[in-house]
């Protein structure tokens, strides 16, 4: 089951050309939807205007590239923005699972006799999405975790996660059980996922890294978004009169408020 290319098994019923055309349409829908979203919400315009207006000392081109690389590695590839470890793991599972799943789908559709490694990757990616996605949906979603609402309360904002979960769940069920009904539902959910980009959370691929980049630039140009910069790491600050009580204290005082998850409302 895990070594069989499910799309090759489907090829007698649906011609490979149709499957490839469908994939190309989906890729175009994502690109067009993301561009429409950026223009419609003005997020790119906001970002560049905000960036131009920011005060502080000028940051050189080399430094900007270094910040860009750091943002890509820490904030994008490692989901470094999350301060909650559970949410970070769930995001990493879903993100890398989705990438694996989509890439292996493309490889298998365009090359029906692809190496048996690809069906394996397709299954692993799909299962990663399911673990991360259902964990997120039932336990760590914001209003479930902090506001105590039911996991079954569905909102417009859930379009992305629900269509993603439906698409991957149906894909794996179809590959396991077969049948044209499951396949039709799988295609329906996938179309909703990719065609719903302008109305779903998909555009966060753009604005989240942009915000992380902006934050890192504000640290380098000295404005720090007006946040305080004094810390106890600075020996001069340790000598301040106000810091007398912490003179001999360890530099790592522990987690403080983060010792417990915020579940005391």
């Amino acid at each position: 089951m895990f070594a069989i290319n499910p799309f090759a098994a489907l090829s007698p019923a649906v011609s490979p050309g149709v499957m490839q055309a469908y994939l190309v349409i989906m890729i175009i829908l994502v690109a067009a939807g993301t561009l429409f979203d950026i223009v419609h919400k003005g997020s790119a315009k906001y970002f560049f205007n905000h960036f131009k207006k920011s005060k502080g000392k000028p940051v050189g081109g080399g430094e900007l590239v270094a910040i860009g690389v750091k943002t890509a590695v820490v904030d994008v590839l490692a989901s470094g923005e999350f301060c909650n470890a559970k949410r970070r793991i769930a995001h990493l599972l879903t993100m890398y699972g989705f990438v694996l799943h989509v890439v292996s789908t493309v490889v298998m559709v365009f090359n029906l006799s692809a190496d048996s490694m690809w069906p394996h990757l397709w299954w692993i990616g799909g299962l990663m999405v399911l673990v991360g996605g259902y964990w997120f949906w039932f336990f760590i979603r914001v209003d479930v975790a902090a506001e105590g609402t039911s996991p079954f309360r569905v909102m417009h904002a859930d379009l992305f996660i629900l269509s993603l979960l439906a698409s991957v769940t149906l894909a794996l069920l179809w590959a396991w059980l077969g049948g044209m009904v499951l396949f039709a539902l799988y295609i329906l959910a996938t179309t909703v996922l990719f065609a719903g980009v302008p109305w779903s959370k998909f555009a966060h691929m753009f604005f989240k890294p942009a915000a992380a980049f902006e934050k890192r630039v504000s640290e380098v140009n000295g404005t720090h978004e007006n946040l305080p910069t004094l810390t106890r790491d600075d020996p001069e600050q340790r000598e301040r009169h106000s810091m007398e009580l912490l003179k001999d204290a360890p530099m790592d005082m522990g987690l403080g408020i983060k010792r417990e998850a915020p579940r005391h409302y």
Binding site: R141, A146, N226, L227, P228, A249, G256
Partner: protein, 159 residues
């Protein structure tokens, strides 16, 4: 000066919801980000501002004494046990403060009251509170007084 949330910074972790003594920080049901549901009822205690790990909460100053261009921001550093304030005035003056928020590592040195023997009848009838002699150092030769320190209480306002 009630608080407000920068929606782009907030990730909905719920620390502000948890800590707000007035229970007015809630998660918006549509956007899934925190917001102040009733600024009228805000005590202006700054608890949520300090608790936010993303520094996504700020104060909206009243126009009469916090004019445009000012900024009062705070960062609470649990790991180092400090709190830092950066105050920017409208004329460009800037003040920076750094103070301790704990002197011992978090969660240690909490008295284990279950292991402490119960008070005797004499202690129960006495005037002193739990641990009072020890913690106000009466056992080191009585209460510390002005006289002991060679000082004298003077009548009236002294400069």
């Amino acid at each position: 000066m009630p608080t407000f949330v920068y929606m782009t910074r907030c990730d909905g972790c719920g620390h502000c919801v948890d800590i707000c003594p007035s229970d007015i920080m809630h998660i918006d049901k549509t956007y899934r980000r925190a917001y102040n549901i009733e600024p009228n009822m805000c005590w202006e205690c700054y608890s949520c501002v300090k608790a936010c790990p993303q520094n996504a909460i700020d104060m909206r100053g009243y126009a009469d004494f916090a004019p445009l261009g000012h900024s009062v921001r705070v960062q609470r550093d649990e790991k180092k046990g400090t709190i830092a304030w950066r105050i920017k005035f409208r004329n460009g003056t800037e003040k920076n403060f750094l103070s301790p928020i704990t002197t011992k590592p978090w969660g240690e040195y909490i008295p284990k009251l279950a292991d402490v023997p119960g008070p005797s009848k004499e202690m129960r009838d006495g005037q002193l509170l739990y641990n009072e002699p020890k913690w106000i150092r009466m056992d080191e030769g009585g209460l510390r007084t002005l006289e002991q320190a060679g000082l004298k209480l003077k009548k009236g306002v002294q400069y």
